[in-house]
Subunit: 492 residues, 2 copies
């Protein structure tokens, strides 16, 4: 059928084609079906949405994701993507072949799958699991459909945390240590999606994080490292599309985690990689044995991909640093680089840096590098290369001035700091968009408190957001204090 | 946050809220998240979509599904539906409790779930199955959230086919037979979604099918039966929402089929029900043992719901009638009511009518009722009550004049008529929207053909659609003819 197409900016994430109900019936398509649009000898495929008014009969609304489609076009029903067949196979618990995995990845990359189909893929991987062979094929296919980087150095270090723990800002400490030990470490990081800050959000407090590939090369050549936003280079672009449908369900199949992480490391040209797996109540992995199993799987798939890989298993039951939110985390980072506390952030960073240095065949002297001030100097060097102020001091980083402090209602000991609640409160306070918003934890688990001691302070830029965050803490308990007796026996 | 809301007619199926990217970031929501809108002391919940242009900063685009929301509104992040927790549990293969199922059904009914979550529910039910207890709870919950009907009669007959076989138009033959035997049978049927005709589409060739509940009561009181579109009464409304996400994946979990069908029968006030289960290559059920298992499950759940239930297991490897498409099927129906062929349609209708009559405690005399002309008279009576022409004759029902006939390319025997291809061809020819479009099968499986004998004729209303359908048959083989030798041995 012939249509006149015009661009409509709706749902920028999907290539949508909006048809009038009359035309949809005439073509014989339903919402979520796909149509093929021929335009200037080019064929694009979009997912159908139906309207009664927004688009008149004979017209076609197309979103920008389809490229610039305008004017007279010919529309036909598109065949069903082959991936749907394989997704159903996975739901039937049949192991997929290498080329079947590749076809799923390719069609996700080409935006051929609608939300239902994409979600069904994730459900299949979650409920029936992915074998080692499937995970390896997935990692390779995911790496192949995006950009790939390569570096002059024979050894290219990298690290990754599977996330889930707030204030876990070890990267801005580890990267300068490793670079100061003369190991090339071009680190790309993510921005927050559902958390109060990603490493890229925290680094943006210090300097720019969005660069072209050529600029990244220059920064790394000059300083031996970088800390940039991964979104500026399209490494394993399918990953973001999968994460988008994992979020509503809060599911994250282990095989998918491995493939997502390692496809990015492979595409980034990394050769020696440390993966951090925080575990425990409130973390992504429940217990130690599950963490060990995942670590073995990571190593096996890493091996198949030709990566030298080590895992660190760390306690993930409470936030690592004391600050949560971009500016508050940046303050912690600068303190640790300066040889000071938070102690847990320092300990974890040093340990991970040492594991990476050892893996790279370099003497593991992270503590010395940190204490000598060489890590801080390297950090300032990288910040300068990324167009930030190299002379930044902690006093320049001021948290939001709208504050609310919660104090202990009894004498006792801190028995829990709830990762999920701390994140929710920080987000309600405005993080990550309001950089200076977040939470500062005055106490961590195991610390003794007297009655009316400060437990945590919420910082916000806007009074309305402070009120929103405060309302949440008033009906929940992000930091739990119990007397000695209560801490041991909970009566239900 | 405060917004000015205005209606945008897009994606009528979902309650969507379209935010500018700036505002979405400020609120801290991503596409597929939910927001709560307060407006005139009323709170509604919608699913977020993000735009850069269609809606300016400070404005909110809302779809009509949300009710009439206009002017100043207050928007906050909505809590995640509780159903998501239970859907994840199902994906983890844990049996759901009665109230967990009820909460999934309720939140689907309230349009609280986005496509990813709704699809995940179906995937969980498909991959891990639904227990008898889950299926029963599902059927009851689905029946409860919609309208329910009740009738004067103590015995209310009904029938249902799980579908998948083209030209399976037994309902317009069975209903008049049963009503002529003085059993009340208020039959609601569906329109085609992915098939070339639903029973409602075929009946619409004869008369109206969309009625208010009061009108349906009048028709049934007058004639003892009706054949109307189920969409005009909102029985088990959640069913349509589930079917919408099953379609892209072509999955239809057995427990879900049972719950969908029986929730509608229960809500419709039926007491005695026959379920037809066609099986075999190209049908929804692969083999006889699977059909028998499904039949037993249907009976068990029916028992829990207080329904008298029988199943018929029938061959579903090829179309039942000769015509596929509304008018072509209507011609077959009228022929059978008039005592003539197609033979398979007559045999199947008589058998199903007898099973239902027996179940209702009435003598199974379907063939006599048909041959005496009483079924045809009752059919004309119902057609008249539904504002159709009671004197309609076969000659009045003229198939589309754009025709293309395919002939046998060899002497031999018909070894297969492909259900899927026959449907695709009929849909391309324009069915069900173009009522007179479809396919007429001159030969069925097992019939001998000479070279150049007619195999089937495509009818269309428009030349362009005929060309489209013809293009498909030219590269496929909807009706397979093989010589005696070929039929036995296929060399690969």
């Amino acid at each position: 059928m012939e249509f006149v197409a015009r661009e409509i900016d709706i749902g920028s994430r999907n290539p949508m084609v909006i048809l009038n109900g009359e035309d949809a019936e005439e073509l014989g398509v339903n919402p979520l079906d796909r149509v093929q649009i021929r335009h200037d000898d080019r064929t694009v495929i979009g997912i159908v949405e139906v309207t009664e008014e927004l688009v008149p009969v004979g017209s076609l609304g197309v979103t920008r994701r389809l490229g610039h489609v305008q004017g007279y076009v010919d529309v036909t029903v598109a065949p069903r993507p082959t991936a749907v067949h394989y997704i159903r196979k996975k739901l039937e618990d049949v192991e997929l072949e290498r080329d079947e995995i590749a076809s799923i990845v390719r069609e996700i990359h080409e935006n051929r799958l609608n939300d239902v189909e994409l979600g069904a893929y994730v459900c299949g991987a979650y409920t029936n699991g992915l074998s080692m062979a499937e995970t390896t094929a997935l990692a390779e296919s995911m790496a192949e459909v995006g950009e790939t980087l390569d570096w002059q150095a024979a050894v290219v270090g990298d690290k990754h945390s599977i996330g889930g723990v707030p204030g876990n800002r070890v990267t801005p400490v580890v990267v300068p240590i490793v670079a100061a030990a003369d190991v090339t470490i071009p680190k790309t990081s993510s921005r927050a999606v559902t958390s109060p800050a990603g490493t890229a959000d925290t680094m943006e407090v210090f300097c720019e994080v969005e660069f072209e590939l050529a600029e990244i090369r220059e920064i790394v050549e000059k300083t031996g490292g970088c800390m940039v936003w991964g979104g500026s280079v399209s490494l394993s672009p399918v990953d973001d599309k999968i994460i988008r449908v994992e979020n509503p369900l809060s599911i994250d199949p282990p095989g998918q985690i491995i493939a997502s992480v390692l496809s990015k490391k492979k595409a980034a040209g990394s050769t020696h990689v440390v993966i951090d797996l925080p575990y425990g109540e409130g973390a992504k992995i429940d217990d130690l044995s599950a963490a060990r199993e995942l670590a073995e799987d990571f190593k096996r798939v890493g091996d198949h991909l030709g990566l030298e890989l080590a895992c660190t298993i760390t306690r993930g039951t409470q936030p690592i640093g004391r600050g949560i939110g971009p500016v508050l985390e940046a303050r912690d980072v600068l303190a640790v680089l300066d040889g000071a506390d938070p102690r847990e952030l320092r300990l974890k960073s040093v340990r991970i840096a040492n594991v990476l240095l050892e893996l790279c065949g370099v003497e593991p002297t992270a503590a010395e590098i940190l204490d000598s001030g060489r890590a801080l100097a390297k950090f300032r060097e990288i910040v300068a290369a990324q167009r930030g102020d190299p002379d930044v001091e902690r006093a320049d980083l001021v948290p939001g001035g709208e504050i609310h402090t919660v104090t202990a209602d009894r004498e006792g000991v801190v028995v829990q700091v709830d990762n999920g609640l701390v994140s929710d409160v920080a987000r309600r306070a405005g993080a990550p968009r309001d950089r200076r918003a977040g939470i500062y934890l005055h106490r961590q688990v195991g610390e003794a408190v007297a009655r009316v001691d400060d437990l945590f302070t919420i910082h916000a830029e806007k009074a309305s957001k402070l009120a929103d965050a405060t309302a949440l803490v008033e009906r929940t308990e992000p930091v739990r204090v119990r007397t000695g007796e209560e801490a041991l026996v909970e009566r239900v």
